[in-house]
Symmetry: C2
Subunit: 226 residues, 2 copies
Amino acid sequence: MILTENISKLYKLEGVEVHALRGINMTVAKGDFLSVIGPSGSGKSTLMNIIGCLDTPTAGCYLLNGHEVSSLSDNRLAEIRNQLIGFVFQSFNLLPRLSALENVELPLIYRGMGGRERQETALSALENVGLGDRIGHRPTQLSGGQQQRVAIARALVGNPPLILADEPTGNLDSTSGKEVMTLLQKLHSEGKTIVLITHDMDIAMQSQRYVRIHDGEIVEEKVVPS
Amino acid sequence: MILTENISKLYKLEGVEVHALRGINMTVAKGDFLSVIGPSGSGKSTLMNIIGCLDTPTAGCYLLNGHEVSSLSDNRLAEIRNQLIGFVFQSFNLLPRLSALENVELPLIYRGMGGRERQETALSALENVGLGDRIGHRPTQLSGGQQQRVAIARALVGNPPLILADEPTGNLDSTSGKEVMTLLQKLHSEGKTIVLITHDMDIAMQSQRYVRIHDGEIVEEKVVPS
Ligand SMILES: Nc1ncnc2c1ncn2[C@@H]1O[C@H](COP(=O)(O)OP(=O)(O)OP(=O)(O)O)[C@@H](O)[C@H]1O
Ligand SMILES: Nc1ncnc2c1ncn2[C@@H]1O[C@H](COP(=O)(O)OP(=O)(O)OP(=O)(O)O)[C@@H](O)[C@H]1O
Ligand SMILES: [Mg+2]
Ligand SMILES: [Mg+2]
């Protein structure tokens, strides 16, 4: 489903060059559950943004379901993102003026789902992350972990085949974190493909396999013993 | 140093009432290192904001160094915050148009520190969290864990006697997280008072004692065995 060939990302800031990614070769088959681990600043989110078609590499090529992504128009990319990918961002990216329910409804609006079905589907997604009693709250009226769970509900509500989750349990206590992992494992058993960034080795051990990134390069790949 | 008596916080949203805090009684002596643990949504950040003089309780009273905080003017409160408290926010709250260095210089500007000394002090604070090579980057040009470390450097740069840290290691890999805890323990051994919110029991075990919050109430208090 995902194939990256020699992906590099270079940032240039007033004379300083940051090689955020250097020649990443990565394959994710349909139905895989892969974790990406590595130190702070090693390039995990940068890699995720490229895989999620939110950013373009400086070099190398990225095939998503066989399509060479760099050859697609912006409209086609946005369409692919909406249909194929559910994204949990490291800093949530919720819309501050919308309620939790309205934030979760957004992906369904893009898919043209009608009002009533949309509200029920969004409500059910919020209940699945334990926030059925917070649907009217806006992001500033929610705790950090609650905002994170709204972001998770929004990523999953459209039932996307590919889920990209950047640190989805960073702000959660161990019980809420377990509930999120149980939810992801259930989706995996239903055939979804999941790529998860995490700092937590306990979390990585609940996926199928992991790659370790260091200074923009993949330095290790391991299958998680079942 | 901190004494709360029966602190309560009630949010009212269109007919729904959220009792975020219910009768919190808490004492923190000068030089203590206390952790606050509890599930997502239990009231930890709300408590921290009240202790940090950023929010007012709906009921109850809060004494900081013997002053009844609710009787102080806004100016006096801001003055106290700048002189006494270093705050690491759960969502960092960095100024997006300032560089990492400029963000860390802010508390020193409020203290009237001159330009040259200010830059050197801020640079040293950033080096202490491993970001000496990122000082010119703006928040959007930093990774999640790097933004968190800038927030930590900013909280510590003015050498405040009271440090309030809300999930300071949530976005950090275990090595960067250890470096931050080593830094906090060094400050504690120098006489600083530290209150730390964390979901991570490993982190709480590195402080002196912890209180557990559940649904807005303190349900457990324990000294960490040395
Ligand atoms: N827009 C940008 N301009 C310049 N440098 C950038 C930019 N965005 C990211 N970087 C740098 O690229 C490197 C990789 O960043 P990235 O966000 O991918 O790290 P990460 O592995 O997700 O880290 P964390 O675990 O802290 O979230 C970092 O060193 C960061 O400073
Ligand atoms: N402005 C607000 N209006 C209404 N309810 C609020 C507001 N701010 C917070 N809350 C509610 O108060 C409760 C406590 O929030 P708080 O942010 O203190 O939790 P927390 O323990 O820090 O959680 P986390 O571990 O997820 O960060 C939550 O249930 C939240 O929904
Ligand atoms: Mg990241
Ligand atoms: Mg919080």
